[in-house]
C-alpha cells in the first residue's frame, strides 16, 4: 500500500492530507481534518449521520473514499455557519425543535440544505424523500419536515441576524 497525497477543499479551505487511500471521506473529515460535527451512526450507508455536501449535493461521507472527493467542494455542518451567523435551515431546526439528542442533526441538516439547493419549493412528500436517507431515532421526523418547509417558505431569512 502506498499512501497518497490529497488536496481536499472543505468549507472553502484547502487541506493537504497524506493518507492511506482506503481512508473514507468521513474519516478524513473527522479524524484527519478534525471537523467532528459530521457523525457516523452505522457501517452500512444506512443512517445518513455522515451526510455532507459534495458540490452542493448530499452524499454520505462514509460511502466515498476521501480520494474520490479530491477536486470537489465539500461542505460540512461547520461550513453552513458564516462567521457566527447561522444559516436559515439551522435557525429553522432550532425554532421547530427539529432535533433532540442532536446526533443525527448535522447529517440531517446537510440533507435538508442539499434538498433546498436543488428544489427551493419542495412539497411535503419531496421533503420526506429528501431526508429518507437519514435516520432520526428521537423526533419522529415531522418537526424536521416542518423546519424544512418553513425554510423553503422563506420564514428564516438570509440576513443571518
Amino acid at each position: 500500500m502506498e499512501k497518497i497525497l490529497l488536496q481536499l477543499n472543505v468549507n472553502g479551505q484547502g487541506y493537504e492530507l497524506y493518507i492511506n487511500p482506503k481512508t473514507l471521506l468521513v474519516e478524513a473529515i473527522r479524524d484527519h481534518i478534525g471537523l467532528t460535527g459530521t457523525k457516523r451512526g452505522c457501517d452500512t450507508v444506512s443512517c445518513g449521520a455522515c451526510t455532507v455536501m459534495i458540490d452542493g449535493m448530499s452524499v454520505k461521507s462514509c460511502s466515498v473514499l476521501a480520494a474520490q472527493a479530491e477536486g470537489t467542494r465539500i461542505t460540512t455542518i461547520e461550513g453552513l455557519e458564516d462567521n457566527g451567523k447561522l444559516a436559515p435551515i439551522q435557525k429553522a431546526f432550532i425554532d421547530h425543535g427539529a432535533y433532540q439528542c442532536g446526533f443525527c442533526a448535522p447529517g440531517m441538516i446537510m440533507s435538508a440544505q442539499a434538498l433546498l439547493n436543488e428544489n427551493p419549493d419542495p412539497t411535503e412528500w419531496e421533503i420526506r424523500e429528501g431526508i429518507e436517507g437519514n435516520i432520526c431515532r428521537c423526533t419522529g421526523y415531522n418537526s424536521i419536515v416542518r423546519a424544512i418547509n418553513a425554510t423553503a417558505k422563506g420564514k428564516y431569512t438570509e440576513d443571518r441576524s
Binding site: T44, S63, S111, E129, G133
Partner: protein
Amino acid sequence: MINDFNYLRPGTLKEALAMYEEHDDCKVICGGQSLLIVMRQGMIAPENLLDIKRIKELDYIKFDKKEGLRIGATTTHRSIEKSDVVKKNYPVLVSMENKLASIQVRNWGTIGGNIAHADPAGDPAPVLIALKANIKVGSAKGDRTMPLEDFFVDYFETVLTKGELVLEIQVPPPEPKTGAAYQKFNLLESDMGVVAAAASVTLDGNGKCKDARIVLGNAGATPRRVKRAEELLVGKALKESLFAEAGKIASEDCEPVADIHASEEHRRHLLGVLTKRMLKQAWEQAKA
C-alpha cells in the same frame, strides 16, 4: 476495517482499461455505494482498486429517436432520475430511480456500478431488461455488446472477464403503444426490494398484445424473465384474468430464497401479485 489496497486512479478511459489489464486482483470502484460496504465487512479485499468515478467520458445520457437511449457507465442514478429525455421517453426508468435507495446514494452511485455489482435485488436491471436494453462492455482489447439479460451469471457475478469494464447501457427507442412498469415490495420506501417485478407490454393495431416482457427482481440469482408468462400473453387480447394467470406462472417460475424478511412461499406470492399488477399498469399505459 477495509483491507489495504493499492489505489489506481486513471484520468481517462484509455488509461483505465490499460491499468485494469495490467493489474491482477483488481476491483473497480465507481460510486462505491455497495462496494465499500462489502469491503468494510472484509468480504472483498482486492490488492488493487481501480477508481473510475472521475472518468467523465463515461458520464453521459444521450437520446436519439433512432438509436434510443445511451447511458454511460459512470452516470449517477440521480442524473438519470432528473434527465428530461429519460422522463419523456422512459418514465419507468425515472420512477424506478426515484425509489432506488436514498438521494445521497443516488447522488454518488452510478448505473454502471449498480449493474456490475449484480445484486439480484438491484432495481435498474429488471426494468432495463424489460425495456430490452443492451450493455456494452469493453477492455483494452476491444468492446462487445450483449443483451443485458445475458450479462448476469450468478449472485454478484457477471460475464465480465479480466480487464473488462461496463461502458454503456443502451435502451432501444420506445415503441409506440408500449407501456412499462416496475414495482418492488419493501417495508420502507428507500429499501431494496424483498422481491420486484418489471413488465412491458406492446400492443398491435388491433389492441392485441404484440410483445410482452416480465422480469423479476430478487427472485433467484439473477434478474429473470418469465418467458412462459410472456408467451401466454403475446397474440392475445389482454384482460385481467390473463394477468392473474401470468402472475401465477411468475410465482412458479422463480427461485426466491427465504430470509428474515420473507419466506420463500411469501416471496413467490408477492412475485405473482407484483407481476399481475405491473402487467396491468403497463397495459393501461400502452392503451393510453
